[in-house]
Each structure stands twice: as structure tokens, then as C-alpha cells.
């Protein structure tokens, strides 16, 4: 019996409807998993990998 944390406490996943999704664009790769009970969202987790770095460009001026 696999248990998962929900808004109602730990529940057996076999009692829940599982929905999954993903998103992949230039900014992120994201997957999520949801568990529903009788039309109610009881669990949602997200894994996200950020692709876009923060880049600084220090510049030293020429002494012309």
C-alpha cells in the first residue's frame, strides 16, 4: 500500500485519481503530479528545472 500526503492526511494512492502533466519551454522543464478524491484536489507536487541562468557581464573600459 503506497501512501501519499494529502490535505486529509496520508491516504492510499489506490483510492485516488492520479493526474500528471509536464511543461518544457525555453525557461523551465516542469512536471507535476496531482491526486484527486471525488473531484477534490488533495495533493499537488511540482518538480521544476530552471534553464535560464542569471548572467552578469562585467566590463572593463579601455584606456584610449
Amino acid at each position: 500500500m503506497a501512501l501519499i500526503n494529502t490535505i486529509h492526511g496520508e491516504m492510499d494512492v489506490s483510492l485516488l485519481e492520479k493526474r500528471e502533466g509536464s511543461l518544457d519551454n525555453e525557461n523551465e522543464t516542469t512536471t507535476w503530479v496531482e491526486y484527486w478524491l471525488d473531484g477534490e484536489l488533495v495533493h499537488r507536487s511540482v518538480d521544476m528545472a530552471l534553464k535560464r541562468s542569471v548572467i552578469g557581464t562585467p566590463v572593463a573600459a579601455s584606456l584610449a
Partner: protein, 147 residues
């Protein structure tokens, strides 16, 4: 500009102004944290420090966010200095009902001064875990780069 200087910037080696210079005499790294912000927040490159205004709230989320682990020293390849947190940023067993789309990394040791803001598609979490997986720590992918 010397690449070693770029790495030094990550390590707070140089002080050009004697006023307000943080003391780094002890060989101790600062503590960095990551706070999440709701979609109506204005957090961007002009952000100077952590603020709780428009930060997410919810079950098991502590204001100020979670600690970010920088277990790998800043490095450089070619002319680019870079650093990436050495572990994922994880908010465990939280419920964040209001949509959020940004994370602020800031230095909690140095007056909560801002480091970087990263935005993403809006999310909510329900009795679950939000995991931010870090990119590869190299000169083309690292989370923070000085090119």
C-alpha cells in the same frame, strides 16, 4: 577584465568602498535563502533585498523561505565565472494556494541583500512538495554567471 576577478566577486574578495563593507574576516560562508513570491509581486533585477511583501504564505511554509546550499566553490571556465547551488531547493509538504511564479535568492547573513530572481510559470502546491532542480554547474548553464 580578469576572470579571476569575476570569481573573486562571488567570493567577496575585493572592497572598493570602505563604507558598509561586510566583514568576511572569518572563513565562513554566508547563509543564502530562497523565498517564493506570488504572481502579483514585483520582484526583478531591481530588487535589493528580501521582503515579506507578496511572499507566499501557506501550510509549512516559513516566511523567508528555505536555505540554499552552495556546497561547491565558485569556479571559472574560459572567461566566465559561475556558481550554482549544489542541491535542489525544496519546499516540503507545503500548501501554497495562491499562485506563485518567482523565487528570490538572497543573503540572509548580509542584511538579506538580494542575489537573483528567477521567474517561471505560475504554480500552486497542495499538501505536496515544490522542488527547484538546479542546472548543471558550468560556464553555459550555471544558475549565476559572470561572463
Amino acid at each position: 577584465m580578469c576572470t579571476s576577478f569575476k570569481v573573486d566577486l562571488f567570493n567577496a574578495v575585493h572592497a572598493f568602498n570602505a563604507t558598509g563593507v561586510p566583514a568576511h574576516t572569518a572563513a565562513t560562508a554566508d547563509t543564502f535563502k530562497a523565498a517564493l513570491y506570488v504572481t502579483t509581486a514585483t520582484v526583478d533585477s531591481t530588487t535589493t533585498a528580501y521582503s515579506s511583501t507578496n511572499e507566499v504564505t501557506g501550510t509549512n511554509y516559513t516566511a523567508g523561505g528555505v536555505t540554499v546550499t552552495f556546497g561547491t566553490a565558485p569556479s571559472s571556465t574560459s572567461t566566465t565565472a559561475f556558481i550554482t547551488p549544489s542541491a535542489s531547493i525544496v519546499y516540503t509538504n507545503v500548501t501554497l494556494a495562491t499562485a506563485f511564479n518567482a523565487v528570490l535568492i538572497y543573503n540572509s547573513t548580509q542584511s538579506n541583500k538580494a542575489v537573483s530572481v528567477h521567474t517561471f510559470g505560475s504554480q500552486t502546491i497542495t499538501a505536496g512538495t515544490f522542488t527547484l532542480t538546479m542546472p548543471t554547474n558550468d560556464s553555459t548553464n550555471a544558475l549565476l554567471r559572470l561572463a
